[in-house]
């Protein structure tokens, strides 16, 4: 992945682009289930304070006008929507939670379009 794959100001997230960018919500949910606690915590704690500025930046344009850098940043935010629940809400319950969540299949998401 290029060193400039994300908009300026979000360089700290570059290392997550290859592992946390997905086309569908089902893939993001699956990645959460397959992740380790360390992967989740590093991603979440690196990104949590960048989410608000990232949304401010991305909200400046309609979604369909985002360039490739902005699309990658959006994709990371969507993965964070899932990982944030694992880290912030479930905490050390996540392994037990993941066991049950494997039975719930996302068949369609408005973000897939």
């Amino acid at each position: 992945m290029s060193a400039v794959s994300l908009p300026s100001g979000f360089e700290a997230l570059e290392v997550f682009v290859s592992d946390w960018s997905f086309a569908t919500a089902a893939e993001r949910a699956q990645r959460r289930l397959d992740s380790t606690a360390q992967e989740r915590e590093v991603f979440f704690h690196t990104a949590e304070n960048l989410v608000a500025p990232a949304l401010d930046l991305l909200d400046a344009k309609p979604l369909d006008q985002h360039d490739a850098q902005e699309q990658r940043l959006m994709s990371l935010l969507l993965s964070l929507a899932h990982i944030g629940l694992a880290v912030e809400i479930q905490g050390d319950d996540e392994p037990r939670h993941a066991r049950d969540a494997r039975h719930i299949t996302i068949t369609r998401a408005v973000s897939d379009s």
Binding site: A25, R28, A29, F44, E48, V51, A52, A54, L55, L58, D59, P62, L63, H66, M74, L77, L78, L80, A81, H82, G84, L85, E88, I89, Q90, G91, D93, H97, R99, D100, A101, H103, I104, T105, I106, T107, R108, A109, V110, S111, S113
Partner: protein, 402 residues
């Protein structure tokens, strides 16, 4: 609408007294004989929510939905005249299933076997070498299924002559449903689960809060508090065969930082979209037999608990949205809302299955509902009344033949 205030203890009144307080027989939650009666008494003759108008976005759109327990496949079309119709997905020549796709857009449907071709209003348009048949084309239209729409939700009724219209079935609740976000939705997200559990046992999980603190200690933290440790509803409502509850939420609960950001973004957009009136936001509707709807504009979900066998069901949860994602915050807030709802639902599944395994053993002759599980009791009574009525009807018909 009849309401019962429920913070401490439900006092049975004239509207709820006939629900009783007795233990409930366990057999209806696992025995095949009772399930077979439910299929006939309820699922073959009640209005069942099967889709949403947004799945038929333009004339020519169609969807096909299976009702497995009735061995029925239903073709729902939006005709060139914009009318929504439903038919058995069955060619009237020799019964071949007409359409194999789940959805699409076309105005004609040709049977793969002998190419009988039907219009989207069900009329038989053409059939090869039809002169050799002994019937008129006009008598070969697709078999219609009763269909109607409320709040953009599509309902069908497998009874060839439904005993009541959808409006009569929903009663005054129809007006309330029209005010929910789903009534304005143009798209949705969806997740599903299959569960080794009876449909009522599964459904009951989602109409009592007694379990919240034990099964959802983290994901449901804001739904309980010191002043209401079990997170019991503010009130219950009984509307004929349907029921409602007003959800209680802890006014002192503070969201965690990331959670709060997602909630704030969702709330800001809901306000901008005109959902500032939150009259219905905490209203949770249990529409007989197997549909739930939540009025929240931020988590506007429905759940349909579909029976598959006496001890197997499928849950279909949808979050209905008005408009496609137009900005990053909307996309992010919707993704978080869906993932949150999915987390909560996923926590319920295993314990419901554990309950089913216990009932399957036959160890219990009865189960018990406390006063805050009155909606479960109401569902059972409504189901059982229909089963008993149908059984009496069937027995009377049998005697008439003797």
């Amino acid at each position: 609408m009849e309401e019962s205030s429920t913070q401490d203890h439900i006092e049975l009144d004239e509207d709820t007294a006939d629900l009783g307080t007795s233990p409930i027989p366990a057999a209806p939650y696992y025995q095949p004989d009772y399930f077979a009666l439910e299929v006939e008494a309820i699922f073959r003759r009640s209005w069942l929510q099967i889709g949403h108008v947004c799945e038929l976005p333009e004339p020519g759109s169609y969807i096909v939905r299976e009702i497995e327990i009735a061995d029925a496949s239903i073709l729902i079309t939006r005709g060139r005249d914009d009318v929504i119709r439903a038919f058995h997905n069955v060619c009237t020549h020799r019964g071949t299933q007409l359409v194999s796709e789940c959805e699409g857009s076309r105005s004609r449907f040709s049977c793969p076997y002998h190419r009988w071709t039907f219009a989207d209003d069900g009329e038989l348009l053409s059939a090869p070498d039809f002169e050799r048949f002994y019937v008129d084309k006009a008598d070969c239209a697709l078999t219609p299924v009763a269909v109607d729409v409320c709040a953009r939700l599509i309902f069908v009724n497998l009874d060839a002559t439904p005993q009541e219209s959808l409006a009569e079935f929903l009663g005054p609740l129809a007006t309330e449903l029209e005010e929910l976000p789903s009534a304005q939705a143009t798209t949705f997200s969806e997740y599903t689960y299959e569960i080794e559990a009876n449909w009522k046992l599964t459904y009951d999980n989602f109409q009592e809060n007694y379990h919240l603190r034990f099964i959802h200690p983290r994901s449901g933290a804001a739904a309980a508090g010191p002043q209401n440790p079990f997170g019991y509803p503010v009130n219950f409502g009984f509307h004929g065969t349907h029921r409602t509850q007003t959800i209680w939420s802890n006014p002192d609960a503070r969201p965690l930082p990331f959670q709060g950001l997602a909630f704030v973004k969702g709330a800001e957009l809901a306000m901008r979209d005109g959902f500032g009136d939150v009259t219905r936001a905490k209203q949770y509707y249990a529409i007989f037999p197997n549909l739930f709807l939540l009025g929240s504009p931020m988590t506007p979900f429905s759940q349909c608990v579909i029976p598959l066998s006496p001890t197997r069901s499928r849950g279909v949860i949808r979050l209905y949205w008005n408009g496609e994602d137009d900005c990053a915050s909307r996309r992010f807030a919707r993704e978080y809302a869906m993932a949150t709802a999915r987390d909560i639902h996923s926590e319920d599944r295993a314990v419901i299955e554990a309950g089913q395994r216990g009932l399957n053993s036959g160890a219990l002759t009865h189960i018990h509902f406390q006063s805050q599980e009155i909606l479960c009791r109401h569902l059972f009574q409504e189901v059982n009344r229909r089963v008993e009525n149908w059984r009496a009807e069937r027995d009377a018909a049998g005697r008439a033949l003797l």
